[in-house]
């Protein structure tokens, strides 16, 4: 039997998480490089209801792995259920998106099987029969090629945006969907999750903003935020921030940009003293133009910036504000 790659897609309440398509693209690319067979699994109480949707992609087979115990999501049920399923299928490589849910259960699953997860990968290479996965380290300042040093099954998770979901290839015909019923014992699940909710409606909506001036920890002190505010005001834009600024209470939470804040796509995003951690970037990479001011020429924010100013924001921002005011006044 050829080796198989199994992509475990993510769903919540019967809706596929779109990042799943990215993982399928990654799987198709890995299958092409290795010659291994590609299959997918949907896990949940009503996994089969999403079978047809997933089966349109170029996959050898789709499993709908089901048990009433999988709803609501718990790490206990997912790890126990998937362990059972993987033991019966014995894939070589198991791929998942690096979502909050996957982070919650996949280290447990792998550990329960005596295996490891190469987490948050941004790519892979297959050279001379050896498979290495690329992941960011040191908050994106360095990258590493990482290989497995244990037996299969191997687990790898892919970072949001690492592959393009719209590049997932359709199959010539629909893949066969097989429903697998799991037996998960009652005493396995220890946590009792309550309803998922959103905090009271946000006072600030940055999603429609055309110009955003965002500050990061490079601003150093709360009082310095004024400097950025003046620039934002001069530009007629909105003030936003990276997470640590909001964690410190220097700006309210509803001005936070990133995976745990707002996702924005303004015409102009000015990043002042922001390093460019992936959790920040996912919230602003759709901006039409990104200008970054950072004193560190190696800061990862420059990877995605259109215009890079390597320098001290305290030197750059005040004259920039003046210049903007002049321009607006018709100078």
């Amino acid at each position: 039997m050829p080796d198989t790659i199994l992509v475990v897609v993510e769903q919540r309440e019967g809706k596929l998480n779109r990042v799943s398509w990215e993982t399928i693209t990654a799987g198709q690319s890995l299958a092409a490089a290795t010659g291994w067979t590609l299959e997918a699994a949907i896990v949940g109480a009503n996994a089969a209801s999403m079978g047809a949707e997933v089966a349109t992609k170029k996959l050898a087979k789709v499993y709908a792995v089901q048990s009433p115990k999988l709803e609501p999501y718990t790490a206990d049920a997912f790890a126990a259920g998937l362990k059972q399923f993987l033991a019966s299928k014995q894939p070589k490589l198991v791929l998942m998106p690096h979502t909050y849910q996957v982070r919650d259960f996949v280290p447990k699953l792998a550990t329960s099987m005596g295996r490891t997860v190469i987490s948050d990968c941004i790519g892979f290479r297959h050279e001379n029969g050896k498979l290495v996965f690329t992941r960011q380290m040191f908050q994106g300042k360095l990258a590493a090629d990482v290989s497995f040093a244990c037996d299969a099954p191997w687990f790898a998770t892919f970072q949001n945006g690492a592959f393009r979901g719209d590049k997932a290839e359709d199959g010539a015909t629909a893949a066969h969907v097989e429903t697998v019923a799991l037996e998960i014992a009652d005493n396995v699940i220890r946590n009792k999750p309550q309803e998922v909710f959103k905090e009271a409606k946000q006072a600030v909506d940055l999603t429609q903003a055309e110009i955003i001036v965002a500050v990061g920890r490079g601003i150093k002190e709360q009082k310095n935020i004024e400097i950025a505010k003046q620039l934002a005001d001069a530009l007629g834009g909105d003030l936003a921030a990276s997470r640590p600024i909001c964690d410190s209470g220097w700006l309210p939470m509803d001005r936070q940009i990133g995976s745990s804040g707002q996702t924005v796509a303004p015409k102009l995003y000015l990043a002042l003293g922001i390093s460019g951690a992936i959790q920040h970037i996912v919230g602003m990479k759709g901006s039409r133009t990104i200008v970054a001011v950072n004193k560190d020429a190696e800061a990862p924010i420059f990877e995605i910036a259109d215009y890079a100013v390597v320098g001290n924001l305290f030197d750059i921002v005040p004259p920039l504000t003046e210049e903007v005011k002049k321009a607006k006044a018709g100078g």
């Binding site: 590493a144 946590n191 102009l268 390093s275 890079a308």
Partner: protein, 256 residues
Amino acid sequence: MKILVCMKQVPQKDAPLKLNESGTWIREDVSYEVNEPDAYALEEALRQREKHKGEVVVITSGPARAQQVLREALAKGADRAIHLEDDKFVGLDAFNTAKAFAAAIKDEQFDLIFTGLQSDDYGYAQTGVILAELLGWPHATIIMQIEKTDTGIRVKRELEAGYFQYVDMPTPAVLTIQSGINKLRYATLIGIKQAKNKPLKKVSLADVQSAIGENLQKIEKLYVPQKTKKTERIEGPPAEVAKKLVDKMRNELRVL
């Protein structure tokens, strides 16, 4: 409540990193600081102890330099510390780090173990969850609030895109703590003085060697990532940079 807090020493956020000769790790001659979410985890443990009594123990694994993290934690109010001290601990994968911790605390009875949700250097986002599995305990990740209940604890999990969820769970348990769960305190002078007399236990690699094995994953190569996007550098003295940027905004981006 008896709480263990795992605290890691990582290179300072601004530290310029250089690769070692073999390109498998960084040159260690940089400044270090405590991994950010771990500082929040300690703060949360101290607050829980203030409410419910008990003990806060901090643990780290790493070279002699990592002791600094424990000293700071003791100064902020932790009761005692455990240092798994050896240069080799730096190279362990998350599985082995968790195994070393499990071995080092096997004679202790904690109600809760806190880790940060992710380390700034490796960024595995795994050590806490693995530790829970090794101990046979339940866990919850990315925690923004913890309350004691009659049957255990109720925690608030952060989910993606501004969503949250409360989870009721029994103890003992492992929680991975998110930055921003609380407001950090500073060490007081008195705290710093008292810290000198607090117990700091050393555990050697030999003490836990039998519990750990070969790494299950291996860093083949570490390197500076290649740039993919075309970025235009705006250079010159600040006033000139400002002029150039405004010119771009007006004539190319048309936002002015």
